[in-house]
Subunit: 406 residues, 2 copies
């Protein structure tokens, strides 16, 4: 008799962004006159079109697929060399980080990688996560049976170590008291938009090396860093090659949310119990994955061309102008607000002691603005709210005007 | 202290096709004068370019991504409605199968789906597989800790039920004596190219329903069926909606091995321990996956247009001409050979009692032909060898001529 994976049944409710989508759809149906007024600053989805260099690269690759002489079948499991080399050269070597092309695993996005990476670790590992946190880290560990039981009152899992990120510590976690095995870190942070200095990150690397922990470092938002002394990669820290996996995405720098491309770095120096994690992830990729589409990998390569880089800077600049507009507008209006300087996320305290979901409903009903309730990211997110800079400039201005008028 | 998933260490050697690739590369390096003579009929990778209708659809979709008004960000987790509806109408309703668009989960390929599907089942399920079998089914269950221990002598896992497919039973398995929980079936079969009649498949569906088993039915090669009375979908059988998941691919009908598109069908009638598997897979998709690229889903839609369908028939016809050429040529040359009528695979008995890997080395060294050793697919594959019809016609003719001259 077949048995289900009953860890799935422990998950409370549906995936956060599915819940939001359903609530917005229900509101739009109940209020058809307001439907067109809705401004979505909730899910972190981009709105700007792909840039000319990337479009040209994709057209070229499509044409190659039409010709027997240039047609490509299965891609190499770990990604085409042309893309892996462009990544190693531009994202790492140009910054003085020692990462080789064959330590890069190309994938269809950082969400998939951040969900799948836990598979190469035993179910008896204890994870530590920032609180609030991107839900995928926790949910995928729940599915694997690593999280224990859920306490509805506190919104926490019995076997997960939570590291609170609060206004008091500048939304950067302290080293945990209880020793974890795997540590998920994300900087610039989703959802708070906070960052970490290089010195502070070095402390995490040293801690991981001293305690034989592995850090899973999500750097999906590194392109948004505008300040010096904020590391773009964990490999800027000494010793990180021995303890850290890094996840990257093309979604937020190049607008690839609907294109799907990302990568994971696993240095060959990183061993656990005498086994190279590189070998385990290569085996997973080879067995369960068949490579990112050729056309998409060529689009990724174009991101690193001179014209591609210039266009991407323009794209990021566009969203960062939105971020600054939201940040300053809300500050002026008297909101308690942070983030938005090195990240496309603005982290907002709900006024008058409102809960996150109450504020969500309030904004949707009162000014037709969709944001993301902070409590959806963890208990320390309660009473907070995330807005994103990924809308159009015009919508962003309209949204801030509405918020100011509340 | 971090711990690895030590199930990975139980896996013997590397993934079958990686091993073959390494052997061929080593041969090419050691024999530079023979390098250009190598004909690859090993891995099931297509060689024909994409057809005009699909190319046009992709160019159009690329252009849409360049325009703010038509740009698409995140796709719906489960796939765009336009594609899911085209699949439901053409692959199912047109054949009288009751499958709705919202029972279809679009993905980046059947390899990923067939590797990931086991996740929604508990680790205490016992799987049954055909022997020989596509290695992904077994390897992914090993990684999840469901396979027990490996016996090098027999090449089998202690907790897996093997269902031998031999010349004696026409390479179609008998119902297992020991009761499994999950049953993997693949028809038309990879690697043997064998098929199953509708009546025979109905027996499996009845067996699964009587014993509360779930059938994972891999129909990636259904487009190659040329004979009547061979079911294209398991949902042609009565009661299959209550016990069967079906996996499909665009790789082998439309030449999408480097494009990456597939889908999984989970009927809403299919419950295990009172839970709909549809809900569990939806949760997995929503949490660990971010949808197939918009451009690729438009390419998939084009496969179902009138011109797309005609082109795909031409593509399949091209490869089936190869299959017939191999099958008949090898028969003429006195080989014991089967498959190739409803599948792009030809299953060949190595001559003179040679082992599969000895025959692999013999063919590579003697006539520079790369095939796949049958023993790589399981113990009953020993002394067999798989050739594929996916080469060019010219290379296929050259290969058969060489094999005839052995």
């Amino acid at each position: 008799m077949a048995k289900i994976n009953d860890n799935y049944l422990k998950l409370p409710g549906s995936y956060l962004f599915s819940t939001i989508a359903k609530k917005v759809a229900a509101y739009a149906e109940a209020n058809p006159d307001k439907k067109d007024e809705i401004i979505r600053l909730g899910i972190g989805d981009v709105t700007r079109p792909l840039t000319p260099t990337i479009i040209a690269a994709m057209h070229k690759a499509v044409d190659e697929m039409a010709d027997e002489a240039t047609f490509r079948g299965y891609a190499p499991d770990l990604g085409y060399e042309f893309l892996r080399k462009a990544i190693a050269d531009n994202d790492y070597k140009a910054r003085g980080c020692e990462v080789e092309a064959d330590e890069i695993f190309v994938s269809d996005g950082a969400k998939c990688d951040s969900g799948n990476i836990q598979e190469i670790f035993g179910t008896d590992n204890k994870i530590a996560v920032c609180d609030p946190v991107y839900p995928v880290y926790v949910d995928t560990n729940v599915m694997a049976g690593r999280a224990g039981t859920y306490d509805e009152k506190t919104g926490t899992w019995s076997d997960v170590i939570y590291m609170p990120c609060t206004a008091e510590n500048g939304f950067a976690p302290e080293l945990p008291e209880e020793k974890p095995d795997l540590i998920y870190l994300c900087f610039p942070n989703n959802p708070t938009g906070a960052t970490i200095t290089k010195d502070a990150l070095q402390k995490w690397v040293d801690y991981a090396n001293s305690n034989s922990c592995v850090i899973i470092y999500d750097a999906a938002y590194e392109a948004y860093i505008s300040e010096d002394n904020v590391p773009h990669s964990i490999y800027e820290c000494e010793g990180a090659r021995k303890c850290a996996i890094e996840l990257r995405s093309f979604s937020k720098n190049a607008g690839f949310t609907g294109v799907r491309l990302g990568f994971t770095v696993i240095p060959k120096d990183l061993t656990v119990e005498g086994t190279r994690l590189h070998a385990l992830w290569a085996r997973r990729h080879g067995t369960k994955y068949n490579g990112a589409p050729y056309i998409i990998q060529r689009a990724g390569e174009a991101v690193y061309s001179e014209s591609g880089k210039a266009e991407i800077r323009g794209l990021v600049g566009y969203y960062m102008k939105n971020a600054a507009y939201i940040l300053n507008g809300l500050k002026d209006a008297g909101f308690e607000v942070s983030g938005g300087v090195n990240a496309p996320y603005i982290w907002l305290k709900a006024p008058d002691g409102m809960s996150s979901w109450d504020f969500f409903d309030y904004l949707l009903n009162k000014v037709q603005i969709v944001g993301t309730p902070g409590s959806g990211f963890g208990p320390s997110g309660e009473t907070y709210f995330r807005l994103t800079a990924f809308g159009s400039y015009e919508n962003t201005v309209r949204a801030v005007d509405r918020l100011k008028g509340l």
